[in-house]
């Protein structure tokens, strides 16, 4: 990852009346990075993307693209291009004309224009469909046209507004892989807006998780999944078993806690952590709890009773009631060893790794 930031978002706020769509957001996105803005609808991620594109003007703060302040610069004079959520394919033009749309203003000459359009269509594997009109294309093909139309402009930054949300699951997964390899191939900075955590985890170099117009955490996919800073982030990215624990010791880096069933553990203190009544929220991911079969032994284990079971094909979710915990634990177990056959009501033992426990700020 290059050190020079391609996009610098500096204390940006956007108010609609008294509603704060963006509340003092600061963020650096490096050149050549695949960056995702992840959050539930209404969290401000689309407003932020549209501010980078120039369709929305921040109430306060500065946005610099490649070192140049973009405030007051209209979208047509920014080195950014956008793939719209509904793709916005011009219905009166065919595929080639759509892709060539932006090149017409550059006055390249017919030959170079034709070459660049041809290459862009090749990149998205649409060379055969150049003469088709927008209404003759499938959802996936439309998306490729939108991509080619933006990439042919050779932008410094490509902005993608929920580009995969209109596709079915199978195609979406294919396009995730394809988008990722396309980004590697062209080396352009990609900024993706999505509400799908798996999409963000699968494609991004880094993810910013947003809630209520603020950024909750910026980190790599692995870091953000394994070490979420707040309860909200942990909850939004996959399942999490939350528990309250009593704080027994605290210093600048670590937090020692005691829990009802998981014993005494020392955890990394998340940034922005404040104790309330000497208590902390800790969590463990459902897949970090393992079923112990027969008389298998583990260093750390909890015991409980299966109260419910949900079958998902390759995995089964077991809901395990553990005496002493305020809520039953959710356990995600692969079906290789017959987790789907464990009867409801059966007693069960679960193994865990103390490293899998995380302390969370509220």
């Amino acid at each position: 990852m290059a050190d020079k930031p391609m996009i610098e978002i500096d204390a940006v706020s956007r108010y609609y009346g008294i509603y704060k769509a963006l509340d003092d957001v600061s963020l650096d996105i490096s050149a050549g990075e695949f960056f995702s803005l992840l959050g539930p609808s209404g969290c401000g991620k689309t407003t932020l993307l549209r501010s980078i594109a120039g369709f929305d003007t921040p109430t306060a703060g500065d946005i610099r693209i490649d070192g140049q302040s973009a405030i007051g610069v209209p979208p047509n004079r920014r080195p950014t291009n956008m793939v719209f959520q509904n793709y916005a394919i011009f219905p009166h033009l065919n595929v080639e004309e759509n892709v060539a749309y932006g090149l017409k203003r550059l006055k390249l000459g017919a030959e170079e224009e034709r070459q660049r359009v041809g290459k862009a269509l090749e990149q998205v594997r649409l060379s055969a469909l150049g003469k088709r009109k927008a209404h003759e294309l499938s959802g996936g093909q439309r998306q490729r046209v939108a991509l080619a139309r933006a990439l042919v402009m050779r932008p410094k930054v490509l902005l993608l507004d929920e580009p995969l949300s209109a596709l079915d699951k199978k195609l979406r997964e294919e396009m995730q892989v394809e988008l990722r390899s396309l980004q590697k191939a062209v080396g352009i900075t990609f900024v993706l807006v999505t509400h799908d955590q798996y999409e963000a985890l699968a494609m991004s170099d880094r993810i910013a998780v947003m809630f209520g117009g603020r950024i909750a955490q910026v980190a790599t996919p692995k870091e953000i999944y394994q070490h979420p800073l707040t309860r909200q982030v942990a909850d939004f990215l996959g399942g999490m078993n939350f528990m309250t624990a009593k704080i027994t010791g605290e210093n600048g880096i670590n937090l020692s806690v005691e829990t009802a069933r998981f014993g005494k553990v020392t955890l990394t203190k998340p940034r922005g952590f404040t104790a309330s009544n000497g208590q902390a929220t800790i969590g463990i991911r459902p897949e970090r709890l393992r079923v112990l079969w027969d008389d298998a032994k583990a260093e750390c284990e909890v015991q409980g009773q299966v109260v419910d079971r949900h079958y998902f094909g390759e995995i089964t979710h077991l809901i395990v009631d553990v005496p002493g915990l305020e809520k039953p634990l959710s356990v995600s177990e692969t079906n290789n060893f017959g987790a789907d056959d464990i009867p409801v009501g059966a007693p069960i033992r679960l193994a865990y790794d103390p490293d899998a426990l995380v302390a969370l700020a509220d």
């Binding site: 594109a53 120039g54 369709f55 209209p74 979208p75 047509n76 950014t80 291009n81 956008m82 719209f84 959520q85 509904n86 916005a88 011009f90 219905p91 009166h92 749309y101 932006g102 017409k104 203003r105 550059l106 139309r149 933006a150 402009m153």
Partner: protein
């Protein structure tokens, strides 16, 4: 032996198809609308057929001679008076349509793109002039454009002119001004509807791809609103060719159009077949001109890239 099952099948299949069709939604729909549809078709085609029939007959004082003749068409197409009237009608209607569409487009564009929450109020206000009778609206233009009218006295009081302008009323200018005003609402509405249907993200995409506001309008908004422009153009052009009231009231002798001549043949002239031939000629020429106008508009917009 081979032919037999085949023939049975060809006999059975249409019946089965017919039965399937009679129970289809399409057939039910047609059955439901058939009384009104037949009524409307009858009222549309019967008068036209009667007019066409008359145009091939001839009149001898009070009796109609029903033998086939093309004499009426010869007169309609070659008599200088009718040629001039027809030509003037077509020119006026073309000018009126062009001006009306040119003035209506910005209004429709403003309401659609900048009307905000008051869009419906704007549309409502545009239809307000249509609440008064057409005749009254035309008459009020006489008051505005007349020798001692609002416009002349207004201009004189500001000192821009020292004697009344006489070229305002009783000529084709007056007809054009009055017709443009009368038909504006009918042009604004179809253009507005086609502008409303344009996905705003397409215009954003055009900006994103390097177009400024003028170019994105010419390359995206205008081509996509073309269906509205075409319907506005036809809605204005077709009826104005045959307009009778406006030229009669504000046109004077220079503003006479073909409808006046047709009316004269059915009335004082007492030559129904010639009137019919003039009507049919006008109808055919208007249809051709409408077709040409549609093609020209499409060609013009396709040229913008």
């Amino acid at each position: 032996m081979v032919a037999l099952p085949g023939s049975v099948e060809t006999e059975v299949m249409p019946k089965a198809n017919a039965r399937r069709w009679t129970s289809s939604d399409e057939a039910k729909g047609l059955a439901l609308i058939s009384p009104t549809l037949l009524y409307a078709l009858a009222l549309l085609f019967l008068p036209v057929l009667i007019v066409i029939a008359y145009s091939f007959w001839s009149q001898d004082y009070l009796t109609i001679d029903r033998s086939f003749t093309l004499e009426n068409y010869r007169i309609a197409l070659t008599e200088p008076i009718y040629r001039d009237l027809l030509w003037r009608s077509l020119t006026i209607s073309l000018v009126v349509s062009i001006i009306t569409v040119t003035f209506s487009y910005p209004v429709a564009w403003f309401i659609s793109f900048h009307g905000g929450v008051h869009k419906n109020l704007w549309l409502f206000l545009i239809t307000v002039p249509c609440w008064t009778s057409y005749l009254l609206r035309v008459m009020s233009w006489k008051v505005i454009l007349g020798y001692q009218g609002v416009l002349n006295t207004g201009l004189m009081s500001t000192g821009l002119i020292d004697k009344p302008v006489t070229t305002l009323l009783y000529n084709s200018n007056a007809v054009v001004i009055t017709l443009v005003h009368s038909w504006a609402a009918f042009a604004i509405l179809p253009i507005y509807v086609s502008l409303e249907k344009i996905d705003r993200s397409l215009i954003e995409a055009a900006h994103d791809l390097g177009d400024n506001k003028v170019w994105s309008f010419l390359r995206v908004t205008l081509p996509l609103s073309l269906p509205g422009v075409i319907s506005a153009f036809l809605i204005v052009m077709i009826p104005t060719v045959g307009d009778y009231v406006t030229p009669k009231l504000v046109g004077g002798k220079d503003g006479v159009m073909i409808a006046t001549a047709i009316q004269a043949q059915f009335g004082k002239g007492a030559n129904w077949p010639l009137g019919a031939a003039l009507s049919v000629t006008t109808m055919v020429i208007v249809s051709l001109m409408a077709g040409c106008a549609v093609l020209a508009l499409k060609f013009f917009v396709r040229r913008i890239r």
